[in-house]
Symmetry: C2
Subunit: 425 residues, 2 copies
Amino acid sequence: MRAGVVVTGTEVLTGRVADRNGPWLAERLRELGVDVGHVVVVGDRPDDVRRALEFLGSTDVALVLTSGGLGPTADDLTAQVVGDFQGRPSAVDAELEQRIGAIVERLMARRGWRADPEATAAGVRKQALVPAGATVLDPVGTAPGLVVPPAEGRGGPVVVVLPGPPAELQGMWDAAVAAEPVQRALAGRTELRQQTVRLWGTLESQLAATLREHDAELAGLEITTCLRDGELEIVTRYAPDAQAAYDRLTAVVDEDFGSTLFSHGPTLDELVAAAFADRGLTVATAESCTGGLLAARLTERPGSSGWVLGGVTAYANSAKEQLLDVPAELLAEHGAVSPEVAAALAEGVRARFGADVGVGITGIAGPGGGTADKPVGTVHLCAVGPDGRQEKSLRLPGSRSAVRGRSVVMAMHLLRVLLLGGPPA
Amino acid sequence: MRAGVVVTGTEVLTGRVADRNGPWLAERLRELGVDVGHVVVVGDRPDDVRRALEFLGSTDVALVLTSGGLGPTADDLTAQVVGDFQGRPSAVDAELEQRIGAIVERLMARRGWRADPEATAAGVRKQALVPAGATVLDPVGTAPGLVVPPAEGRGGPVVVVLPGPPAELQGMWDAAVAAEPVQRALAGRTELRQQTVRLWGTLESQLAATLREHDAELAGLEITTCLRDGELEIVTRYAPDAQAAYDRLTAVVDEDFGSTLFSHGPTLDELVAAAFADRGLTVATAESCTGGLLAARLTERPGSSGWVLGGVTAYANSAKEQLLDVPAELLAEHGAVSPEVAAALAEGVRARFGADVGVGITGIAGPGGGTADKPVGTVHLCAVGPDGRQEKSLRLPGSRSAVRGRSVVMAMHLLRVLLLGGPPA
């Protein structure tokens, strides 16, 4: 059973806003045993939205999900376009209009914003337009969602219309799935499993060779490999009757790539967080070129306040000396970007915060600041803990953002090895 | 003149990797005067990729760009599928095979990775498959790009095949545009301008009312509005002959929303960075709940080392006291999450780093840690500088990630107002 997704919004199409809804919906559908073939991103133009619906309708899907285009402005047109596509003309739902009006009033009162009542009313009326016979999903923000089956006697997919803001879309998901037309469309689904294996230090082509060699034993698996941030991720989707083939795959990968296999599922961040929590250890970070990215990444996890004590972003040398006790002589002798200073940063922040583990990162993210000796992309890292230390020196290619991003990934791997062992960073 | 984009990759379709190529390509095409109608994200399945190409071919585009699916593994199929779609069967290009082989060899030597020569050769051979009559674009990583016109006597778009890793795709862009079939397809283009105006504190529906009122004067403008992080962004695209209408739009927005208009173009981050650089001021950050995100955002900009001295992430109270001189009595009396501690954090970090401006953020990002008095989402911010201080207390809705993100946006607005004045944060 398959579904398609239409993400509307010129701001998404042009990249001013990254689409978070397409992937989120694809993952929820997979959990329901529904496979997504295409996500179409389209601007706020009725003709283009209609064409996207027609295209997905032609790909034999039982469900189409749309996100966005439910706001109060003239360029928000999804509800009407979907209604027309399904042969169900739209009209204002008076009861819904009242409910949305009350929500908007509360919202504006809370923010203390001025509002012309007539303009507000026009926006509310637009948001209360409902295709005939559609199921209304209660608003989470101001926009209601819609479940719009094809008109009587017509074929084609059920279309579920959801708002663009991710929190609103996600808050409406359970109600959308529970709606009767969606349940009917879902009747034909079967379970679809997904498993992930992660390698650190294996080339994609080596893995490809192994997979080719064992091709016959792996029938029934949809295996995709993806090299991301230096990590080779093997994601496999399969129906329950292919479980034996999947078990064979993990055995084969273990045999050929056991020395680089660092996870049978959890992400790098999950592994590191669990290791700190399980061992009851704390951490503090000292960052130069990554400017707080490592601390931000560690603290992104709920509950991280239990094991992250904090960190220092020390761009200026004076900050390295005064806040992290890096000796001035060390800075003078080796320069701020050196393995010695990375280690001193790690030791210094560990002592200052009284943490079990300290991490130091120093480098040149560019685009300026490089020299012949220490070109842009030179980064030194050190993680110190109760069991010893892990160090790494890198020359990373790419942009400022790429150098910073890869440095943080490497710091996470150093923490992984320091706490858990396994494939070297 | 229009174009379409196909982004391939099951890892993108399922959200394991965020698509950065679709938006980037859409923006480059707009600069060339080419309008993108649809971006189709599709998994690594030949049938689905083919259908996406057929769909875009049916929408009257002169150009289709694809990203991804050029790697050495069996699921990388874009080149062959595009060749078949254009009526141009693929074959190994021996000279290209040699070049890719040399690149892969260097790459593996640099990383010190082991590799089975036969497997490597098979991967290289796959990457050297070229549709008959296609133009090869030099590899930036290991994968070459392709420009594939329709076979002689066939109609349809020119297809440009680009690799998935953003750095490789971007590095190949100029060569792709310069290729003769692309230049021929681009012959019909006209200039398309894009301008942005940014408001802070206006409801989308109010703006919609103003736009409706002036509808007739604004003909020829494609106006899209987008509420993001509390900022209302008005992006307008238009042909040069609609410049007068655009000037009228900015006048109308100025008149009705002058008190919330904070930018006629530059982003919030650009405004803040320029203000620090122009005034020769430095900044340091003290973060609790945002855990380094503000420092990471400020240092994302090239050249930020000229005005960012650093920052402290102080999760633990002991760190707030010892590293930032927040008095223990203040913490005891008001609690760590209070306006008083936000101010003390700002003052403390300013003094410790010797910075002109200090920013303090303290709050409860959740999901745990909330109380009746101070629920999850309670955040206090303070920015102190030579011209005074800006403070704000918030109760933010949403997830941990949403609370952290919105807090950082608010901190940026406090810096904006502190340095530049304008609409209050």
